[in-house]
Symmetry: none
Subunit: 211 residues, 4 copies
DNA sequence: CATGAATGAGTATTCATTCAT
DNA sequence: CATGAATGAATACTCATTCAT
């Protein structure tokens, strides 16, 4: 009874997980296309080809599913960003485009989720807002630490207002993402974007002599 | 068609406009506080102290009122930005903080509207999205033209990727606005923010020698 | 503006109250016929010939309407019972059938409500249960007080277990109501029932000599 | 059709019956605690530790199981009551408390079932109502017969309205059960209750001289 | 013009029952 | 026989909009 039972149970759990993913993926598309509020549970179950009740077998509510999708993206992004090792001192300037490129790649690979994150994830409810704010703060702090490190290594100007600069950098990357990746641009030239971002934020747009 | 009638009509139109404004202002507050979706028409008419039917005498729908508020803000912002005369060649570098400061000031003075713009105006429906996109494009084009002008005047590097740089700049300012002004910060130090933004985007964060 | 407005407002409130009653009466019938659980809000609005939304304009929920109906009956019954003045010493024995008759009359006049009270009002939720229990306790206490008074007046045996006797009396009357009034009996002979009840509880069924 | 087959069938039937009982007992508890409507099939299968499907292998529906539980109680009670032999002429008055006591004992021993019977079994559907009514009628008739017998034996007054008196008696006992046994009273004093009931119904509460 | 009562399509969620394994 | 994932009809309730007064 043991092996057979275990087998059945395991298979059951495996299928369960498969089903969950199936619903999540279908829902992801619908949310990305229609937006959170415009998406009804009917839309979701239709897209996932399951019965209404089945949906609630796997997710507590429409909102909790959405939250899960959000968490997924934030994890994914955080992983893509944290992959960077800012302490590698050699050739920070040369490394940076790669780093930024990786972030942009992560985002591009998760276009639907990112679209949701940028278009819908705000003002939904306090819970989501708090989670997003926390995520943003993590990114912000990460960039500030990077700048501080750069300053210590004498590659970042001493007089830079770290907080403002970090905000500009994060905001700039975000908006690049929003304009070039979330919007339906087919295959964004990530390399050009990365280089452009790095150039802008490292050296600015002004001619040095213009000071 | 007599004078008296005209008078009545005019008076009527005058009070009509006054009423409209009353409702708009009250609604603006409610939208800013609660967010678009969490705000019901009941909330609006209660805040404006008018009957439900009256609301529909002045606005086609909840959504159209919201759209109008959005348009108002976009006009206001556009005015604040367009006020800058980029052709004044003398001391662009010195002028810029003032210009940015003015934009931040406009935003701060319309905090409620801006909050709505940032928190709710996305993903509402195609109409809103289109209008927002158009607005963003206008700003984007404006910055690109400014950069191009700067390049002609030899104050902007020739090798700068105008499109990417403009996106970074706009995104940076937006995120500054989002973090320091939309969020409930009491009295943001607009001057420091302006100087920080200008410094970051003109000269970058890297030490020139690090090239 | 004053008189006219007041007039409108008053008329409005009057109509409101009328509507409420209309819905309550229709709902009462449906509840009495179908029972609480088997009655859907759709049934109620259909019976009252109002739109679904209208229902919720007048009642917070299906349950709250039901509670209100319950309260109405309990008030009505309590009034019918409290009308009795047990201190009128002359001819208690002769008075009693009248008193009981009045209670039965009240119940007969509110047959629908009573049917609900007996058939549905139990186990609905803690709130209802508590209210019913309180009501039952009031009745119980009332009867005990009456018995105690009777004892003081030397018309009730000294050795009677007041609590048990009161429970028997209340239960007996309740069951009479249930069998002869709530059940669809056309026109119960209230006088016969009253006399029978009084005889049973005053003198018992046993021949005195059988002790 | 071989012995072996019979054996298997028998064994199967035996375990089948055992399973049924398991489920019934578990369900009884849940129904008594939560009430019929608040109890879901999920609750039942969880309490019985069987799969959802298994439940429907043994019972047609949630309702049919409930009906069965009801029948069980009614049989049990009927047995407890019928155990009394009213024809034993000697000392009816002395016997009665014992008889009533036995009924109360039966009820106390099946408190869960009784609780269900009193709290939930009414207004469920026509089927249940009919069965309950039939049961009540049986009891009623039984009491009437007893009274008639008593009359023949000259221990019951001739002028007693048998039907009304029987209803009072049954109602009284029912309400005693409801107040003292169904409600969570720890260990009701069955003897006192029995004596009180008998005294009340045999001799009434009035002093004989008060007639 | 102003009112606010009335509307009803639409929503998320539950749960008794079925059925493939 | 046993399982538990799947089903979908049904439910209470909301809210933007209309319309008679």
């Amino acid at each position: 009874m043991t092996d057979e039972t275990d087998g059945r149970v395991l298979r059951g759990q495996a299928t369960r997980e498969v089903r969950r993913q199936q619903i999540k993926e279908a829902s992801l598309q619908v949310f990305a296309d229609r937006g959170y509020h415009a998406t009804s549970v009917s839309d979701l179950v239709k897209a996932a080809s399951v019965a209404r009740g089945t949906f609630y077998l796997y997710f507590q509510s429409k909102e909790s599913l959405f939250l899960e999708l959000l968490d997924d993206l934030m994890m994914e992004l955080r992983a893509g960003i944290k992959g960077v090792d800012p302490s590698a001192n050699a050739g920070v300037r040369d490394q940076l485009p790669t780093v930024i490129g990786r972030v942009l790649k992560t985002v591009t690979d998760n276009r639907s989720l990112t679209r949701i994150l940028f278009r819908e994830a705000i003002g939904l409810d306090a819970e989501v807002d708090a989670r997003l704010a926390a995520f943003n703060d993590v990114i912000h702090e990460y960039v500030i630490r990077a700048l501080r490190l750069g300053r210590a290594m004498d590659v970042v100007r001493a007089e830079v207002d770290l907080d403002v600069a970090a905000t500009c950098i994060v905001g700039g990357v975000r908006y690049i993402v929003q304009r070039h990746i979330v919007a339906d641009e087919e295959s964004p030239d990530l390399e050009r974007l990365s280089r452009g971002i790095v150039a802008t934020f490292l050296d600015g747009v002004a001619l040095p002599s213009s000071s």
